[in-house]
C-alpha cells in the first residue's frame, strides 16, 4: 500500500528566503496528521507544493503514489485542499460553486454527495445564497465543502478554524473525524495546539523550512513535556526546595516523572514549614512541546 503522502528532499527558495529545506515526510493512509510550526515555518509552502501551486526547486512529492508534477491529474484527483485564505467566487451561489468545483474534477452528477456535505457542514439553508451574502464562518464552511466535492482520499486543511466560532469548530471536527474514521487521510495545520493534540495521531513540526520534530503525539508529549506539581505557598520556600522548581506569577512549579514523587515533594514542603494555599497537577501539553521544540531543546 502506497503512502498517502510521500515528500522526499523537497526544497524551495523564494529569492533569498529558504522556504523549504530538504523536507522529508511520509503520511500513511488513514492517518490524522498534524503539521505545526510558527508563521513562516513553511507549512503553507509545503501544502502548496503538494497541491501543485508551488513548484519545488528540488525533491519530489507524491499523493497516493502519484507524482504531483509528472502525474498531476491523478495526484490532484486524490487530494482535497482547504486553503488558508478565505477566498470565494462572488458570482455564484453555494450550490453553484460546489457543482462547478465537481465539474472541474470531471464529476457530473454529484447532487447527492453535495447535499450530504451541505448537511454535515450546516450549510443546507444557505445552499442557494450567493457567496457574498455569507458570514466569514459560513464562507469557511463552503471552502471545506469545495475541498470535499470529489471525495478525495487525502484531505489537507490549512488552518481551517482560524477566526471561526466554537460551533463551526465542533461541527467541522465532528465531520472531519467521521471522514477520517471512514478511511480518509487528514493533514491539518493549525495554530490551535489543543486541537492538534486532540485530533492528530502523529505530528511534524517545521521551523525555518525544516522538519525539527516528527513523532506520534503521545511520544512527543512524553519526550518533550512532563507533569508538574503546581502550588502557591503561604511563606518563602527554602533554597533547597526552590532550586528544584520554578516560580511564575506566585505559583511554584515542580516537574516530576512519576506520581510517587508528588508525595515526597509535599513531605519536603511540609517539613520546611510552608503552608500550601493552592495546589494542582499540570498535565503535559502540546503547547509546551511546541515551545521547547522551537527553542531547540532536546527531549
Amino acid at each position: 500500500m502506497s503512502a498517502a503522502i510521500r515528500i522526499q528532499q523537497v526544497s524551495k527558495c523564494f529569492g533569498s528566503t529558504q522556504a523549504l529545506d530538504r523536507v522529508d515526510l511520509e503520511v500513511q493512509q488513514g492517518e490524522f496528521f498534524g503539521l505545526l510550526g510558527p508563521n513562516g515555518a513553511g507549512k503553507t509552502t509545503l501544502i502548496s507544493a503538494l497541491a501543485g501551486l508551488v513548484r519545488p526547486d528540488a525533491g519530489s512529492l507524491r499523493v497516493m503514489g502519484h507524482d504531483v508534477q509528472g502525474d498531476y491529474r491523478a495526484a490532484r484527483r486524490h487530494l482535497g485542499v482547504v486553503p488558508q485564505e478565505l477566498v470565494f467566487d462572488p458570482f455564484f451561489t453555494v450550490r453553484e460553486s460546489l457543482k462547478i468545483q465537481s465539474g472541474y474534477f470531471g464529476i457530473g452528477h454529484n447532487d447527492d454527495w453535495i447535499d450530504e456535505i451541505l448537511e454535515n457542514l450546516g450549510l443546507t439553508s444557505k445552499a442557494n445564497a450567493n457567496m457574498r451574502m455569507l458570514s466569514g464562518g459560513m464562507k469557511r464552511r463552503v471552502l471545506v465543502a469545495q475541498a470535499l466535492v470529489h471525495r478525495p482520499p487525502v484531505i489537507v486543511l490549512d488552518e481551517p478554524t482560524a477566526g471561526v466560532d466554537v460551533e463551526l469548530r465542533q461541527t467541522l471536527w465532528a465531520f472531519i473525524r467521521r471522514l477520517n474514521e471512514a478511511g480518509h487521510t487528514i493533514v491539518l495545520t493549525t495554530h490551535y495546539l489543543e486541537e492538534a493534540e486532540n485530533l492528530c495521531t502523529r505530528i511534524a513540526m517545521l521551523k525555518a523550512g525544516r522538519v525539527v520534530a516528527l513523532d506520534t503525539t503521545a511520544n512527543l508529549l512524553r519526550r518533550f513535556s512532563v507533569h508538574a506539581l503546581r502550588l502557591r505557598t503561604g511563606g518563602t520556600l527554602p533554597s533547597e526546595l526552590a532550586r528544584d522548581g520554578a516560580e511564575s506569577g506566585g505559583w511554584w512549579s515542580f516537574p516530576f516523572d512519576g506520581f510517587d514523587q508528588v508525595e515526597t515533594l509535599l513531605a519536603r514542603i511540609r517539613a520546611a514549614g510552608c503552608r500550601i494555599d493552592d495546589l494542582e497537577i499540570g498535565k503535559p501539553d502540546l503547547e509546551e512541546v511546541f515551545v521547547r521544540v522551537m527553542q531547540g531543546q532536546a527531549g
Binding site: G52, V54, D89, E96, G103, F105, G106
Partner: protein, 252 residues
C-alpha cells in the same frame, strides 16, 4: 452540469459574464449605438466608402470593435479578479491542464464577443441597409478576432498584478489598436504614412476582413487579412500556452 475540467471552466466563464449581462452585454451595445448615432449624424451624406453609405460602412466596424474589446475584457477581467481575490485557486487545484485552461478562457471570450457583437448588429442594422455579401468571412473574422483578443486578455490577466496594470494594458494598447484600425474610416482616406502605419496594425486586418464579409469590398484582400490574423492567433496562442505551461505568475 457539464463534465470535465475544460467544459466546466468554459461554462463557468460564460455563466460569470451572463450573470452580470447588463454590465457585460447591454452596456457595450449601448456604447456602440451611441457611437453610431453621433458619427452617422455628423458624417452621413458627406462620406461614402467603397461606394457604401457611411452609416452602413460604420456598422460592421462597430460590431467588430465590440467583439474584440469584449473578448479582451472577458478573459482579462476574469483572471485579474480571480488573482486579486485569490479564488483562482479553485481552478488551479483541480486536474485541469494548461491547454484546457487556455481554451476555456479564450472560448468564453469568443462567446462574449460574439454575443455583444450580435447585440450591436441587432441594435444598429435598422439605421442603414446592410448586405451580407460573403457571410463566411464575417464568421471567420469574428471568431478569429475574438480568439486573438481573448488570448491577449489571458496574457494581460496573467501578467497584471493589479487592476491599474490591466487598465494600462487596455488603455495604451487595446484601445489605440482598435480605434486606429479603420473602424470609423477607410485607411485609404489617410495620408500615405498613416496608411503604412495602419498596415502594421493587426486589428486593421480583423476589421477589414470582417467588413469584407458584408460588402464584398475592402481595403486589403481578405486572404491577406486571413493570413495576418491567422499568424497573430498562432503566435499569441503559442505565447499564452508557454506562459501557462511555465505557471508564470500562477504557480510559484
Amino acid at each position: 452540469m457539464r463534465h470535465g475540467g475544460f467544459s466546466t471552466l468554459l461554462y463557468k466563464e460564460v455563466l460569470r459574464f451572463w450573470k452580470v449581462a447588463s454590465q457585460t452585454v447591454a452596456a457595450p451595445v449601448l456604447t456602440a449605438l451611441l457611437y453610431l448615432l453621433i458619427f452617422s449624424h455628423v458624417l452621413e451624406g458627406h462620406v461614402k466608402v467603397h461606394g457604401v453609405a457611411y452609416t452602413a460602412f460604420l456598422i460592421p466596424g462597430l460590431v467588430m470593435m465590440s467583439v474584440l474589446q469584449n473578448a479582451f475584457a472577458n478573459s482579462s477581467s476574469s483572471l485579474i479578479q480571480s488573482k486579486v481575490t485569490g479564488n483562482i485557486v479553485f481552478v488551479l487545484l483541480p486536474p485541469i491542464s494548461y491547454l484546457e485552461f487556455f481554451l476555456a478562457y479564450v472560448l468564453a471570450s469568443v462567446v462574449r464577443g460574439v454575443v455583444v457583437g450580435t447585440g450591436v448588429l441587432l441594435a444598429t442594422f435598422w439605421f442603414a441597409p446592410l448586405t451580407f455579401a460573403e457571410p463566411v468571412w464575417i464568421l471567420v473574422f469574428a471568431l478569429m478576432g475574438g480568439a486573438i483578443l481573448g488570448s491577449l486578455g489571458v496574457i494581460a490577466g496573467i501578467w497584471a498584478d493589479k487592476f491599474d496594470q490591466l487598465a494600462a494594458f487596455q488603455n495604451f494598447l487595446i484601445m489605440p489598436l482598435t480605434f486606429l484600425s479603420g473602424v470609423f474610416y477607410s485607411i485609404n482616406s489617410l495620408p500615405p504614412f498613416w496608411q503604412q502605419v495602419s498596415h502594421w496594425n493587426p486589428v486593421f486586418y480583423m476589421i477589414d476582413g470582417f467588413r469584407h464579409g458584408f460588402f464584398g469590398v475592402s481595403d486589403a484582400s481578405p486572404w491577406l487579412s486571413l493570413a495576418v490574423v491567422g499568424t497573430c492567433l498562432a503566435l499569441l496562442t503559442a505565447f499564452s500556452l508557454n506562459l501557462l505551461k511555465r505557471g508564470y505568475k500562477l504557480r510559484a
